[in-house]
Symmetry: C2
Subunit: 224 residues, 2 copies
């Protein structure tokens, strides 16, 4: 019963996140319509939504392009995320029910299992990680905060580099979640906020390191 407009949205979005549509590329409504097997009408809907998430941008004359994220852009997004998710963590700590704490604990168990697998199950890690943060956001009980963060969490470049994180980085992330859980258990909002902010900022640097490494390899390939 999924409507064409939702399917188109999901499909275009995943094409952008996976890199099937490269940054800066122009998107024609007609072209997308063909690729998605629908007419232009639902495509227009989808593009408007994606525009809201800054995954596509429109030129002055309304032509649409895949947004290109410079390193500065990513840093900017992470900074905002650190601030907003920190705030969410504080609010969550102050309101979280015992059952939600339990669910968080279970989710982090799953994350731990994914990390300890050999090789680490990055896909599962990312899914559970998303779930972990979603639960916190839910506990923060601020619809507006949720809406704002929605536009920041999914970033094409980040999504693509996540697979190159080392086990060490994943383990550290797992450990930080544990500390968050401790803060939640004690309903210490300030603690939760601080840990969360640190957590996001570390994630940023893990990304930046992985990205720099990949860029170096790219250069090597290009020149060799």
């Amino acid at each position: 019963m999924s409507k064409a407009c939702d399917r188109a949205y999901a499909q275009i979005r995943s094409m952008i996140l996976s890199g099937a549509l490269s940054a800066g590329e122009q998107l024609s409504e007609e072209g997308l319509a063909e690729r998605c097997g629908v007419s232009r009408t639902p495509i227009r809907d989808a593009l408007r939504r994606l525009e809201g998430e800054l995954l596509v941008k429109r030129s002055g004359t309304q032509r649409t392009f895949v947004a290109d994220w410079s390193l500065d852009d990513v840093a900017d997004a992470f900074e905002l995320r650190a601030m907003l998710e920190g705030h969410a963590a504080r609010r969550a700590a102050e309101r979280m029910s015992e059952t939600l704490v339990q669910r968080l604990r279970a989710t982090n168990q799953a994350i731990g299992a994914a990390v300890r697998a050999d090789p680490p199950d990055v896909e599962a890690f990312l899914d559970r990680n998303r779930e972990f943060h979603a639960i916190i956001l839910q506990a923060a009980a601020s619809p507006r905060l949720s809406a704002l963060l929605g536009t920041l969490i999914e970033q094409p470049v980040v999504w693509r580099t996540a697979h190159h994180y080392g086990r060490e980085a994943l383990l550290r992330s797992f450990g930080e979640h544990d500390e968050l859980l401790a803060a939640f258990a004690r309903r210490d909002g300030a603690w939760a906020e601080a840990v969360m902010a640190a957590h996001i900022r570390r994630a940023y640097h893990a990304y930046a390191d992985a990205h720099a490494g990949l860029a170096a390899i790219d250069r090597q390939v290009a020149h060799g």
Copy 2:
């Protein structure tokens, strides 16, 4: 040369902000199309945009309603605004050019004039106030931050109560802008952030007071 889709957007938005469309009211695409003198297509575009700004919400079955803002919602929005605009002020202070400082000063002069007029020119005050904050946002040079704040600044209830602020509240706002200017002139990001956060929080309480007063009058009218 304004396109129908922009006109429809602006028109619906202003109808919501002014209260011509009351909170919770259902919006039919066809009805709006008739009122705006365009077809349903641009209306759909406009509604998607407004949905992104949380000015309208959609039911599970995709029917659209004017969003209703509880006092909690407004408090929530102001809290986020205080945080984000504070952040913007910090960044702005650290990067602001001398010419932008001049423009801010000029804008605040205009605000002062509007406040001192008899009676105070609230419309001009609001316009210039918007401009003042927009310049800061521009100086902060974070497109994402701008996008996030865009969804928080215009709030129906706030818009409608602004006209009931006393001259005292307007004067205080004017003075706080002056202090912001001092912080900008000295490139003191932390100072700017603190002043801005205080500025927004005061605005919230000014709103809450005015709102409480209006609500009391409403009750009186209803019962008498």
